[in-house]
Every structure is written in structure tokens, then in C-alpha cells.
Symmetry: none
DNA sequence: AATGAATGAGCCTTCATTCAT
DNA sequence: GATGAATGAAGGCTCATTCAT
């Protein structure tokens, strides 16, 4: 019985295998070469499957790209954790958000191509970015970040001003993802490991909370 | 003088015309489509010149790309001068720095494709980024930003910590260049004109000064 | 007998179902797209069966095509019988022949694709045309048409001349099968129903009988 | 000078050469294999030119096909002659039309593929047939054939009846083009040379004029 | 310096077919 | 007998580049 079940399971594995192999190989190639630069042949060869498999499992090269990018960027789970562990204190909540966001963006355990692909997509958007923003970033911003900031500032600021503050925080975080080529050129021996991520996240949290506290104080004064 | 000007001018109008038209058209097309996405034909058609002209004037599509990117990124070290206008007050200096940096990044007088091409280059760097960092960003950071921050914080922070603060500021600024595709999707009717740049720069300045002030206060306290 | 019928009938319903569905769908698709234009997938999808079924039931796409064409063209030699109804008057016999021939060619009760496929086959013949000519057209011409014409003209004309007259009649009839695409473009709202067939057949009969009568008169005169 | 003119002319010949070579080769291949069956590679190989030349000189495989078919079927010139030599007698005019039409359709000096391609196109129409009918057949019918028939019949018949008579004539002529595969199977040693064409045309003319005369007589009687 | 016809490599995709289940 | 994932061959087309002029 066990053997038969293995036999029955085998095709599922084999089936998922081809698809999965393509997805992995495609991620790497797209990250290295971009959408136009990558060729279906390069992807299928790296995956060790037939050229036609891409068009069979995904309709298109474009559809494959979308699938890969969306998979690579589904930041959402990271925020779920952040909320789940959420305390009542908005300061703690912001700290948690920033840490989870940075850990997600920079996680050295995630395959490197996912980071690079996400950075590439943000700079040279295709239709995949639409989905990414709508499903991941927009909710993150509207449901977690902005409400938390509103709570932190006690209603002193307009929606527009809260937007700017949000941008300041996201900008600080994304800098370490998107500007990595710049950072590597500014600080030649730059590496990021687990402890660095914590250090960076701590800095951004402190910096942002300090700014918010001081700005709020100023706003209340006037 | 007159003779030299004639010599210099004549070829620019006649001989250099084709070359210049190609460079302009190539900038736009490369910015829109990326290197692989852009076709030599699209470039030459937009330039109104023969297809073969690209291979004649530049050896390669690749060579043309390098030329275009270098031109687009090494704008001028002019913003150094602007910074030199700095007053004695370090707060004023920081404000001025941020404004000049943002104006440099987002300058609406520069053709839009140069900005987009620069953003592209930052995310998917070629050799042209080396030059950009070395000539523009590195000096900005090391000669102006960090020293100003040191002055502002009264020596409370290590070089490493000052580096982080610098990153926070650069991150906030670069966000509006690099993450524009995201911003445009988050805020559908987003436009940046002269007054917006000022508003953004003002926010980043206030936010950063507030953070620095508060952080410094905290550091002194302990 | 009963047993044999059961044997024959059961498989037709169960086992032959797929085969029959393929044959029907293939006929339609081949008629619309031609052999090369038709895809196995289009056929199997329209038939609602698996892609592999074509290669299972028929060896080949080519084999399937042959099967379909032969079925479509070897309708029945039934119109021989209809012709046998002929009266003694040769005029009546010719009228009857033309009507039966046109009804055979244009029969609106046969699925449209069979007509179209037959027209296709006549212009771009495969081996199936041999059978069609041998079983249907040849006998029609040699056993009915030519003898009737000989009778009508009272032996005034050589076999060669009778052949030309036969061609004139067949040409007039086949025109409405083979040149339908042209007719539809010349007379945009062209349709053929039962009564049109009668009208067309009447015209061809009148036209041909008139020609024969006049030609015979001229031949006798000289 | 003469030599230089030759030199100057050479490219024109060379230029026309590739295009012309493609058109010729395409005609043969399309006639043999049909549109879908023919491959661009087969065409360019037979023409001895590069594969890409098809897409350069014609936009498409489809566009090439249209060009080839239209070129192969521009029957118009044939009718021009017919009118040019036209006498006042409508009988003579009809005789001339039929002769020119058949000479055009069956001309053994025209490359065989033109005949076969035209027959193919009439049976399996593509968009090329639209152009063919509009530019060649429609005018032939409306400007020459029908008016001539009206003159011949002295206004005895309705437009619809004249249309049927026209069909009878065209059907007789086209039979020898479109039904050639049938004819070859009916009359195994069938060949058409110059004198056969004349004989056929003479028969059709006599047959049709006889029918028209007799029909007109009948119509006047009643 | 500039042209445009011509090239060959290579890309994405589709197709008929096979094979394990 | 039927399925559907997988294959390899080939197809149409586009691209950067070259060459004669």
C-alpha cells in the first residue's frame, strides 16, 4: 500500500517538479538578465526541461514572468506575523513592522534572485508590479503603516503629511534593497548578515520614532 | 577664438547632427524599454536617421548604450557649487543639501528620460554607475553630508552611526527617484513639479532634523 | 442476426462514440481550414475528446483526413436510382439528370462541411478524388449523360462533340459548387435553399436544351 | 557612360531580383502546398535568398501570398484586349470575350503554378480572393458580360435571368480551369495546347450563342 | 557620411506525437 | 480506451549587423 501510494504520489511530484523547476530557473535567469534579456531557452536549459514546457505550464513567457515576480514578492506573510505579534503599544508595532519588513527584504536565506528580481521590478516595472502593489504594498501601507502612524502622532497630522512620514520610513527601508549597487560602491566591503539586519532595523526604528516624537511635540506646541 | 568657435560649431550642426539625434532618441528609448527591450530600429526611426547609422557612429548597440548612460548620469558636479553656498548654521546647511540633492535627482528641467535612465542604472548597474557614484554621490556624502551631520550631532555618534543617519537621509531622497513606479501606483494622480520638490525636500529636512535633534538629546541624556 | 446486430450496435454507441465524434469534428474543421490549417487540437477540442485520441483511433492526422474525405465524398450512388426513374422522353431525362446532379452537389440536407470538403477535394485532390470520380461522376457521365445527349441530338454529333456538350452541362452545374466563394462575393446576399436549387436546375435545363435544339437544327441544316 | 549606366542599373536589377525571385518561388510553392502548407523557408530556399527577405520585402507570409495571388490572377488585361478588338456585333463581342477569357485561364505559356494557384484560391478563398473579385471579376461581369448579354437578348430578360445566363457561360469556361483534376480522371490522356483552347472556346461560344438565340426566340414568342 | 537591401542568428511559439498512468 | 504531461521539430518573425553604393 505504501508503495502504491508512493507510486500514486510520484506523478504529483513529477508534475510539480517540472513547473517548480521552471519557476526556480526562471527566477534566477530573470533576475540576472531582466525580462527581455532572458530567453526561454536559457530558462528551460537551466531547469533541465523541454523548451515547450514553458508554454505548456504557463501560457507565455510574460505569464511566467508575472508568476515568478508575484511569488518572489508576496511580502504579505511577513506583515501577518508582524500584526500577530502586535502589542497594544504603537511604538512596539512600528518597531515590529520595520523589523519584519527589513527581514523580509534582506533575508539572506531567501534565494538571492528573489531580492534582485524584486529590485529590478520596482525600477523597471512590468504589469507584474501592478499586482504586487495592489496585493501587497497597498494593503501594508493603508491597513498597517498609516493607521499606526496616525495612532503614534495622536491625530496631529493630515493624511498627506502622514503619507510623507510613511514615505520616509519606506524610503529608509527600501534604500537597503534598491540602492545596494550604490551602497556597495560607497562602502566597498559591504555585507549583510542576520545581525546587520537587526542593527539596521533598530536604527531606522529609533530614527523614525525620534522624528515622529519630535515632530509631534512641535506640532502640539504651535 | 572666432575661428575655433566656428570649427567647433560647424561640425556640431552638420556632422554631429546625426550623432546627436541618435543619442537623444536612444536615451528616450532606452529609458522606456531598457537595453534589451530597445531596438536599434526604434531608435533610428525616432531619430529620423538610417538604421546603419548606429553601427557607423557607435560601434555597437552596447557602445551606444554606455555613451547614453554616461551622458545621462554625469550631469554636472554643479551641485557641489550650490552646496558651497552653505551658511554657517549646520541646520541651514542640511536643508540646503537635501534641497540640492532632490533637485539634482528630480530636476524637472532635465529631460524625463535622463531621470528614468538614472533610476534604471541604479537598479541594474553597468560600468556607468561607478562613474556616477565616484563623481557625484561619494563626494556629496563624504565631503558634505557626513561632516554636516557630525557638526549637527556635536560628536555624539560614531562614524558608523553617522553613516546610518546618512543612509536614512539618502534613502528618503532616493525613494522619490527609485520607487516612482510604486508611488505612481499607490497614488494614481501623482505628479512632481517644482513646488512638489520643495515640499518633499521640506518634509525630509524637517523629519531628519527632528530625528537628529531627538536622537542627540537622547544620546546626551545617557 | 440479433446477436450480430448487438455486436455491431453496442460498439457504435460506446466504443465508436469517440471515433465518431472525432470524424464529425474533423470534417467541420478540415472543411473550414484545410488539411494544413486544421490542428489536431482544434479537432479534439471541438469533439470534446482528448488530444491523444486522434493518434489512437487513427494513426495519423493524415489518416484521419483520408477517412473523413472518403466518407464525405462517397455519399451514395443513390442518385443512380433517381436517374433510373427517367421517362422515355430524352428532354425529361436530361431535366431529371440535371436536377439530380445539382441536388447531389448542393443537397442542403447534407452537413455543409461535406459540400465544402468535396469542393476542396475537387480543387486540391488527394487519393479520395479517384474514388469519387470512379464511383459517382464517371458513371453519371458515361451511362446517363452522354447517352441521353446522343439521343437528344439524333446522332448529329461525334463522340468528341458530345463530350464538349457534356462538359458544358457539368460546368454549369459544378460552377455553383466550386465557385461558391466567387458567387458569394459577386452577390453578397447569396443563399441556396431547396427552391433555389430547383430554380438553378430549371435554368440550366432550359439553357442547355435550347442550345442543343439550336445546335442540332444548325447541324441538320448544313 | 554606357558602362556607368549599366552599373547604375545593376542595383535596380539586383533589387528587383530578390523580390521577383521570391514572388516566383512563392507562386510555385503556394500552388503546390497551399498557404498553410507552404513554409517561408521552402520559398526562400527555392528562391535562393535569405529567410528574412520575405519579411523585409513583403511584411508577412500572408502579404506575400496576397501579392502572389493578385499578380497571378489579374485577368483584367485580357479583357482590355477583348474590348479593344471589339466590333459592334454583340455576337462577335461575346465570342471575343470567351476566347480571351479561356486563353487567359488556360494559356500554356503562363507558368503552370499561376493556373493552379488561381484554382486553389477560388476553391479555398483567403482575403486575396476579395481583391481578385473586386478588381477583376466583378468589373468583367458588370461592365462587359452582362451588358453584352442584354444587348444580345434585346431586353427580353430580367437582371436575375441575365445573371443566370452569365453563370452558365462562366461555369462552362471555369470548368476547364477548376475541374481539371476531375477531367484528368475522366479523360486520362488529357492535354491542352493552343489549338485545344480555340476548339473549346469555339464550342462554348457556339453553345452559348445557340442557347441565347433559342431562349430569346422562345421568350419573344410568349 | 549616409543609405537601404540583405543577411544569419536566434527568439517565442505551436504542432503532432508519444508515453506513463 | 482514455488521459494529459512532456517532447522535439519546425515555423514565422525580429533583430543587430554588414556591404555595396
Amino acid at each position: 500500500m505504501v508503495i502504491r501510494e508512493n507510486k500514486a504520489a510520484a506523478p504529483e511530484i513529477a508534475e510539480e517538479n517540472t513547473r517548480a523547476k521552471i519557476l526556480n530557473a526562471a527566477g534566477e535567469v530573470f533576475a540576472e538578465q531582466g525580462f527581455e534579456g532572458a530567453t526561454v531557452r536559457a530558462i528551460t536549459e537551466r531547469a533541465g526541461v523541454n523548451v515547450a514546457a514553458v508554454n505548456y505550464h504557463f501560457r507565455d513567457k510574460a505569464e511566467l514572468y508575472t508568476r515568478v515576480v508575484v511569488d518572489a514578492c508576496s511580502v504579505r506573510a511577513a506583515f501577518r506575523e508582524a500584526i500577530a505579534e502586535g502589542t497594544d503599544s504603537p511604538e512596539e508595532r512600528l518597531r515590529s513592522l520595520i523589523h519584519r519588513f527589513l527581514e523580509y527584504l534582506l533575508d539572506p536565506n531567501r534565494p538571492g534572485w528573489k531580492r534582485r528580481l524584486m529590485a529590478r521590478e520596482m525600477a523597471n516595472p512590468t504589469t507584474a508590479l501592478d499586482e504586487l502593489v495592489k496585493n501587497n504594498i497597498q494593503p501594508f501601507r493603508d491597513e498597517f503603516l498609516i493607521p499606526t502612524l496616525r495612532q503614534l502622532t495622536g491625530g496631529c497630522f493630515s493624511r498627506r503629511q502622514l503619507g510623507y512620514i510613511g514615505s520616509s520610513i519606506m524610503g529608509q527601508c527600501l534604500y537597503f534593497l534598491q540602492s545596494r549597487p550604490i551602497i556597495e560602491r560607497l562602502v566597498p566591503d559591504f555585507k549583510i548578515d542576520k545581525s546587520d539586519i537587526t542593527e539596521i532595523a533598530d536604527h531606522i526604528t529609533r530614527f523614525s520614532l525620534a522624528a515622529i516624537a519630535e515632530l509631534t511635540r512641535q506640532a502640539r506646541r504651535s
